[in-house]
């Protein structure tokens, strides 16, 4: 009477139990899931829900960007033209490549090839580092030019570009102040993105360590698969950031 179960059909229950035992053999199988398929689907779904929160997390900043870009268009153009397309474009390509290798890593795990999986994970990480390195170069340049928002922000380059040997048209001082908003958003958005990359690279190292042990090449690919979702999502954010931040108005007026 202690554990009255709502089963009214004993035969199906027994069958269910038997079925469950067949699945219990795998070590990664958690006891509270009935089947591994259920576990896998739950994992994917959970990961997607987490990415949903990420969409909204970046969404707040994207809205701020939309608003201020419309309010202070000239400042955004000037700020955007301060960024280097070769660096930004390369970074986009680098990130896409990294994502490509991550996708291949999932495939390698699915077909249970440990060496390939390791190779692709390493390549993903390497390209992730290349991205972060290039980002560091870009940030460092802004630091030297006093384009970091805050107390040291300097507008002289936008008000008087000729003195700095730039071909840009000068903008009015009041608008030049608004370039700070552009750079605030630039650093907030790319900074948050870079933070996600850094977290991702950290997880990649953990995955490599586990992949080395062969954890993911015996039919259990969920961690690789779910991490790939995360990594691709970070890619997607950049795919929007690149045109929105670097390519606002590159054509001659």
């Amino acid at each position: 009477m202690d554990n009255t179960i709502v089963a009214t059909n004993p035969s199906t229950t027994e069958a269910a139990v038997a079925e469950e035992h067949a699945h219990i053999s795998l070590p990664q199988h958690r006891h509270h899931f009935e089947t591994e398929e259920q576990q896998r689907e739950a994992g994917t779904f959970g990961m997607w829900l987490f990415l949903l929160t990420e969409i909204m997390f970046f969404g707040g900043m994207f809205f701020a960007y939309l608003l201020y870009r419309n309010w202070y268009y000239d400042a955004f153009v000037v700020g955007s033209n301060q960024l280097s397309i070769p660096l930004g474009g390369t970074n986009t390509a680098v990130l896409i490549t990294s994502g490509f290798f991550m996708a291949l890593a999932v495939w390698a795990a699915e077909v249970r090839k440990r060496a390939l999986l390791m190779l692709f994970l390493v390549l993903t990480t390497v390209f992730g580092f290349v991205f972060l390195g290039i980002k560091y170069v870009e940030y460092h340049e802004k630091w030297e030019l006093h384009h970091i928002p805050g107390a040291h922000f300097d507008v002289s380059q936008f008000v008087n570009p000729k003195a700095y040997g730039l071909k840009e048209e000068p903008i009015a001082p009041d608008m030049a102040q608004k370039v700070q908003i552009y750079f605030s958003l630039y650093f907030a958005m790319t900074g948050m993105h870079a933070l996600h990359m850094i977290i991702g690279v950290g997880i990649l190292f953990w995955l490599m360590w586990r992949a080395q042990r062969g954890d993911f090449t015996s039919g259990y690919v969920a961690p690789i698969e779910n991490f790939a979702l995360y990594w691709h999502f970070v890619d997607i954010v950049w795919l929007f950031l690149f045109p929105l931040l670097y390519l606002i108005n590159r054509h001659p007026m």
Partner: protein
């Protein structure tokens, strides 16, 4: 019978000092109260209804009287009823509330204007005639009064409960509210938006006076300089007149009669020149270039206080011709004070 002294005083106070309802001292108040009582009525009806249902069913169907429950799935008809009736009531409320909202936030065109500057933690009222008040506001009965408000620092909120009006006072942007007082007397001004340490001390008093008394008050309490005159001084001392000189060859647009006109901007859009536009054009000129002029005006962000901006705005508002501007030019050239003759704003 012995009643404790404290309790006794409390009861006395309860009976004498504590009103359960608020004075209606503006033309808007009765409208707001009408909606309030409508809402109060449906709330009470709703509450009585739910109460009756709960208590009624509890008595009628309590276990002693009704030992076995009858299973009922639901009733589409009943459910539709209590979906549609509340919906209808809420929609009525919405329309009513919206009408009231537009009434409170759309000032009539003939309203007299008073500027309010909020700062931590005081209210400054500036009348066009040059009366400056702190934590006080004098207004006449029977005339619509529009408040053009701005904050120097954080969000404040200007509230006069007896008038049923309230509006947030925002940093960096004018907001307006209007009322027409009906009954002479003094009423509370509260800051209702939390604004830091002395938030609860940011209170003041509106004094509502008969038009005659008000006339007397304006004459007695003027500082001698109207806002426009202050503005004229600023206009000269900040060098605005060197470009906005009104002459045909001037580098800046002619400001005479610009207020309330429609202006063609360099970016192709058309704007109505109002207080907010003038303020913004002084602080962020490059976003407000009049068509046909070069974007050469420097920004005055950080160089001029909100009070100063109000003075300038008021000055430009009153400029009907360029006569006064020319005057400031001559005086500025000769390094003299701007003219201070009161009441000579309009030539």
């Amino acid at each position: 019978m012995h009643i404790s002294q404290v309790l006794w005083q409390f009861l006395i106070k309860w009976l004498t000092a504590s009103a359960l309802f608020l004075r209606e001292a503006s033309t808007i108040a009765p409208y707001a109260d009408a909606l309030y009582f409508f809402l109060l009525t449906i709330t009470v009806i709703g509450l009585v209804l739910v109460g009756t249902l709960v208590f009624g069913f509890s008595i009628r169907y309590r276990k002693e009287r009704h030992p076995v429950a009858e299973q009922v799935e639901g009733s589409t008809l009943l459910e539709a009823t209590w979906t549609i009736i509340p919906l209808a009531l809420f929609l009525i409320t919405f329309v009513w509330g919206a009408i009231l909202y537009f009434r409170i936030y759309n000032p009539p065109t003939n309203a007299m204007n008073v500027y309010i500057v909020g700062k931590q933690w005081m209210w400054k009222a500036e009348h066009p005639g040059g009366q400056h008040e702190i934590n006080a506001l004098h207004v006449p009965t029977g005339r619509p009064v529009q408040l053009t408000m701005i904050s120097q620092d954080v969000f404040h909120s200007f509230s006069i409960p007896d008038f049923r009006v309230k509006r947030e006072v925002i940093p960096g942007r004018y907001s307006t509210v209007w009322f027409q007082a009906t009954t002479p007397g003094t009423y509370h001004i509260f800051c209702t938006q939390y604004c830091g340490t002395n938030h609860s001390a940011m209170i003041g008093e509106v004094t509502v006076m008969n038009p005659d008394d008000y006339q007397k008050w304006t004459q007695q309490s003027t500082s001698g300089m109207s806002l426009a005159q202050n503005g004229e001084r600023l206009f000269a001392s900040m060098g605005c007149n060197s470009c906005h000189s009104g002459s045909a060859t001037a580098r800046g647009p002619n400001l005479a009669g610009v207020y309330a006109s429609k202006l063609q901007l360099a970016n192709g859009s058309q704007v109505l020149v109002n207080d907010a536009y003038l303020r913004d054009a002084i602080l962020n000129p490059s976003e407000h270039i009049t068509a046909g002029y070069a974007p050469i005006m420097p920004t005055y962000q950080g160089q001029i206080s909100e009070d100063g901006l109000i003075d300038l705005v008021e000055y430009i508002k009153t400029l009907q011709s360029n006569y006064r501007v020319q005057q400031t030019l001559t005086t500025a050239d000769s390094n003299q004070q701007a003219p201070t003759t009161p009441g000579a704003v309009k030539p």
